[in-house]
């Protein structure tokens, strides 16, 4: 490839505005070279620079005594005691997964794993949050199948269990599926590594796969809306090689154990460009790269392509001077390519040389510190008010509540996701204590000691319908529900990573959704003491002008001091008392019931009392020793929650809901309404008095609603269904939708 001349159309092709280009001229004091233009264009893309979102993150709480590393590094870190830390992060691979579902999702997993082991941690558990259009569309079935197989193909091979997640289906994702992947690793506190290039003279080493032309401008693609030419973007999607990543993981962890590494960063989005400039930027140093030394995969590549390639499974390592041979030996042992390609400088420049000739020289720190920052205009959409209006009087009560419950259990958003998670190896590493399908996944931390082996609970969550109806309240709900899921496993919620998926931020309505969701998340995280320690923003989730519902996915992690003392959602014994914790109101706005049964997405999401929520979570962690099960009430309300507890435990129940709400509450709201802050739990009748006392102490409303036992789930006179029937509908619905066409 021959280097083109820098002109207006080339600048535009690189997605840079006139203002941004003027800033480049100011930083350099001259016209950029082609390579430099490429570097700025990727580093200043929305994906890398967060230029539209950064300004709003001031709203997030980011610190707590247990937070070791907040936002800004490759991943956030929390202290979990015993000298150990948990490192976790979530990232999106939405655009590539739409274009090429298997590889797009696979490389998403590869990228998030590298973010974790870059920090010195061994990845031990993955989650994912997937969103597609309705499954009666063959394209969506193909996308679902490809994405799940891609995640499985990568995660299973590398041997990191995928222990849970969520899958959600809605027409708004038909043209823009969401693939958000989460990973968590464990590291000794004194062995955390960072992406810094310090110590002038230290060698810079390139390790891993060769560099090809794949993925060039991948981040730019992720920063644009899709038009009709999405298919033509296939070459922008990278191809994953989990086996090489496994070698890279083991070799990096081995080298980290030997005190050879000064700093390390993976080459993810924007490849060599972002890793080198960010490492120098963080350390306040410079880096000089001799780009002809990078192992090429293809012939006749030019510096521009080397710098912008997003070939997978590559890392950049700064090693202590004199120790490079020792490091290279480790990579040879694992049959990996490792080459010294440059050194750390004290001049503050990212200098790129090609056979001795300088092709780029940019002040490294300025690439990020001078990156554009936009406070984009935001405006409440004109249609928002109409959306929030809901006249319950016009909605007829169901005549057959049994069929409503079965229809809800068959809704792909409520139905069992077994067919998805059975394709993931969710048990490798033998730590998975609570398997997929409960409120939160729980893993044990083998390395922890003390009175018992510790556990970590984790979940990903977001009700995008709530966020669409009211982004502020919806953002709060996403956090509150994630925390409630964690608490239902018996764990104490600790911290959050987020993945904010939105439409085009240049549209004021989308920006309004974003700003308000971020506010809601910040407020809930403050109230629940779960700081945001990292995350990712994915804008431009639009196709032909149609944006997705705002989807700020929350990944949350909590801790169990003794992993054996955990809770799951299924009823355990016949004759147990069944209780409902929390208040039930006449709230149907934004419910799955309203959407599935009445075809309406209207009203305000349920109200949310964050203080009550926090008290509920504290109560649950205290009540673990006496509870036999706990399950959050969310989509489908208390009826769906009871059904799921029955299905999981294969035990029926005799339930009466007449006392849980004010007299005269609509029956459908009582059964299927989604009032927040509620949990269905079961326990021995003999422990009821103890639970009552705990509830009084924590200020949590408690309602005794029935007893487990028998083969049917009976709720007042409205519902009576054999558990076997509930189970069949719940377990087979998704599979039937995918396979029977």
């Amino acid at each position: 490839m021959k280097e083109p001349e820098i002109n207006e159309s080339l600048i535009k092709e690189h997605g840079l505005t006139a203002g941004e280009y003027a800033k480049i001229l100011e930083i350099l004091g001259r016209t950029p070279t082609f390579t430099e233009l490429g570097i700025f264009s990727v580093m200043w893309s929305e994906h890398c620079s967060y230029k539209s979102s950064r300004i709003h993150f001031r709203n997030f709480p980011t610190s707590a005594p247990w937070v070791v590393q907040g936002p800004g590094e490759n991943a956030g870190v929390i202290d979990i005691g015993d000298g150990l830390c948990a490192v976790f992060k979530m990232e999106s691979h939405n655009h590539p997964s739409f274009i090429e579902p298997y590889q797009g999702a696979a490389t998403g997993v590869g990228g998030i794993l590298r973010d974790i082991f870059t920090m010195g941690a061994r990845p031990v558990a993955s989650l994912n949050s997937l969103r597609f259009g309705p499954l009666d569309d063959p394209l969506q079935r193909r996308l679902l199948s490809g994405v799940v197989s891609g995640i499985a193909g990568y995660g299973n091979c590398i041997g990191v269990p995928t222990v849970g997640g969520e899958a959600y289906f809605h027409p708004c994702y038909g043209g823009n599926i969401l693939v958000n992947v989460f990973n968590l690793g464990i590291v000794k506190k004194e062995k955390i590594f960072k992406g810094t290039a310090s110590g002038a003279g230290n060698p810079v080493i390139y390790v891993g796969s060769k560099t090809g032309r794949d993925g060039i401008h991948g981040v730019t693609m992720a920063s644009e809306e899709f038009t009709d030419d999405a298919e033509q973007k296939k070459p922008n999607v990278q191809v994953g090689d989990p086996f090489t990543e496994k070698l890279l993981l083991e070799a990096c962890l081995e080298a980290m154990g030997k005190d050879l590494i000064v700093g390390i960063q993976d080459m993810g989005g924007a490849g060599l460009t972002s890793s080198s400039s960010e490492m120098a930027g963080r350390a306040g140093t410079g880096v000089e790269l001799h780009i002809e030394k990078v192992p090429p995969r293809e012939k006749d590549m030019i510096p521009y392509e080397f710098m912008l390639s997003e070939s997978q499974e590559r890392m950049l390592i700064v090693v202590s001077k004199g120790k490079e041979e020792e490091l290279l030996d480790i990579f040879r042992k694992w049959d990996l390519e490792a080459v010294v390609i440059g050194r750390v400088m004290d001049d503050g420049f990212l200098t790129v040389k090609w056979n001795g000739k300088t092709v780029a020289q940019i002040p490294a720190a300025k690439i990020s510190s001078e990156a554009p920052l936009y406070d984009r205009p935001s405006e409440r959409p004109a249609w928002q008010d109409g959306l929030q209006k809901l006249d319950l009087g016009s909605i007829a009560l169901p005549t057959d509540y049994n069929s409503v419950l079965l229809e809800l259990l068959a809704s792909p958003n409520i139905a069992s996701k077994e067919m998805i998670w059975q394709e993931y190896d969710h048990m490798v590493r033998t730590n998975t204590v609570v398997l997929p399908g409960s409120d939160a996944a729980v893993i044990r931390v083998k390395e922890s000691g003390g009175s018992g082996v510790k556990g970590l609970a984790m979940t990903v969550d977001c009700s995008s319908r709530y966020c669409y109806l009211d982004p502020y309240l919806g953002g709060m709900h996403a956090v509150a529900e994630a925390a409630r899921n964690i608490a239902c496993s018996g764990a104490r919620p600790l911290a959050v990573t987020d993945n904010l998926n939105f439409g085009n931020p240049e549209k004021p309505e989308v920006m309004w959704q974003f700003v308000n969701a971020v506010k809601g998340i910040g407020e809930a995280c403050r109230a629940l003491q779960t700081p945001v320690i990292g995350g990712n923003v994915s804008f431009y989730n639009e196709t032909k002008g149609q944006a997705i519902y705002p989807t700020p996915t929350i990944g949350m992690v909590g801790i169990l001091e003794d992993v054996e003392k955990h809770l799951t959602q299924g009823f355990k014994l016949e004759g147990d008392a069944v209780v409902l914790l929390g208040l039930t109101k006449e709230e149907l706005g934004g419910s799955e019931y309203l959407a599935v049964i009445h075809g309406m997405e209207k009203g305000m999401p349920p109200s949310l009392d964050l203080q009550a929520e926090s008290r509920l979570h504290a109560l649950l962690t205290q009540a673990v020793p006496i509870l036999h099960s706990a399950h959050d009430c969310s989509e489908g309300g208390v009826a769906a929650a009871l059904a799921e507890s029955s299905i999981s435990g294969n035990i029926g129940a005799e339930i009466s809901l007449k006392d849980i709400s004010a007299p005269g509450t609509r029956k459908d709201a009582l059964l299927f309404g989604e009032s927040s802050g509620r949990v269905v739990a079961s326990l021995s009748e003999g422990d009821l008095a103890a639970l009552k006392l705990l509830c009084e102490n924590h200020g949590v409303p408690l309602f005794l609603i029935g007893k487990t036992g028998g083969k049917n789930l009976n709720i007042d006179s409205e519902i009576g269904v054999p558990v076997s029937r509930l189970s069949e509908v719940h377990k087979k619905s998704l599979k039937n939708r995918v396979e029977s066409r």
């Binding site: 197989s149 499985a152 193909g153 299973n156 091979c157 590398i158 041997g159 090689d241 989990p242 086996f243 090489t244 496994k246 070698l247 083991e250 694992w334 049959d335 998670w421 059975q422 394709e423 993931y424 190896d425 969710h426 048990m427 490798v428 590493r429 033998t430 998975t432 204590v433 044990r444 083998k446 082996v453 992993v563 054996e564």
Partner: protein, 238 residues
């Protein structure tokens, strides 16, 4: 001493090590695939699950050519107990230490779930190092996690397996019935695990190391490890 072979893409190596070392409380060590000898004092060898070389060609096809496999062949030839789990089973088949082949699952997809296994062994239990804590007809619950676990063998091979009592585990219902519905991957006659003629090399698709601790909700797998240890305590080294 239990030796656990580590291929570059093994990923159940740590799990097997953990079971022997921390659950069963016996010494264990890793054997790197580039080694061409089984270390002195090794009493049993485990080939763990994983994706030894990425499984890009055919599962186990490349691992078979690793230097360590010559050593494993000699160790097994001398009567040493060798256990291959999942990818380990695939490698043993590729290496010719066990008959048959493992094909892509009938449903083409990777499957991770608990299955029931009927202990089918014909040999008196005490005769194999892996099954002396089990009895014929017993039903175990163990997880599988594989995309290529569909055991295939030709009719002559199958008769030989039966004649010699080499079929150790078959996929079954919870009650121990061998039905097509209980077969997760399409294996011939629901075969989940077999042993060689001499009775010292076992290959099985299910993962006993994933269910050997109460905290993981199931301890059925521990019976296999107890068998190995009680066998070894009778016959020290090979």
């Amino acid at each position: 001493m239990i030796g656990i072979v580590v291929f570059p893409g093994s990923n159940c190596d740590h799990d097997c090590y953990h079971v022997f070392k921390h659950v069963m409380g016996v010494p264990a060590r890793f054997i790197w695939h580039k080694e061409d000898k089984i270390p002195e004092g090794t009493e049993a060898v485990v080939l763990p699950g994983g994706f030894s070389y990425g499984d890009y060609l055919r599962t186990g096809a490349l691992a078979r050519l690793s230097p360590v496999m010559g050593a494993v062949q000699r160790f097994a030839g001398a009567g040493g107990p060798v256990m291959g789990i999942c990818n380990g089973f695939q490698i043993l088949v590729e290496a010719g230490l066990l008959p048959g082949a493992l094909l892509r699952n009938r449903g083409l997809k990777f499957i991770c779930k608990d299955v029931h296994l009927e202990v089918s062994l014909e040999k008196p239990p005490g005769e194999t190092p892996f099954t002396n804590a089990l009895r014929k007809g017993q039903v175990l619950r163990l997880p599988i996690a594989h995309a290529e676990g569909n055991y295939f063998i030709n009719p002559e091979g199958l008769s030989a397996l039966k004649e010699n009592g080499q079929i150790v585990f078959r996929y079954s219902t919870a009650e121990g019935r061998i039905t097509p519905e209980a077969n997760p991957n399409g294996s011939v006659e629901n075969i989940a695990g077999i042993i060689n003629r001499q009775g010292n090399v076992l290959g099985m698709m299910p993962h006993p190391e994933r269910c050997a601790e109460a905290v993981l909700g199931n301890t059925d797998g521990k019976l296999l490890f107890e068998s190995i240890l009680s066998f070894l305590s009778g016959t020290k080294t090979v």
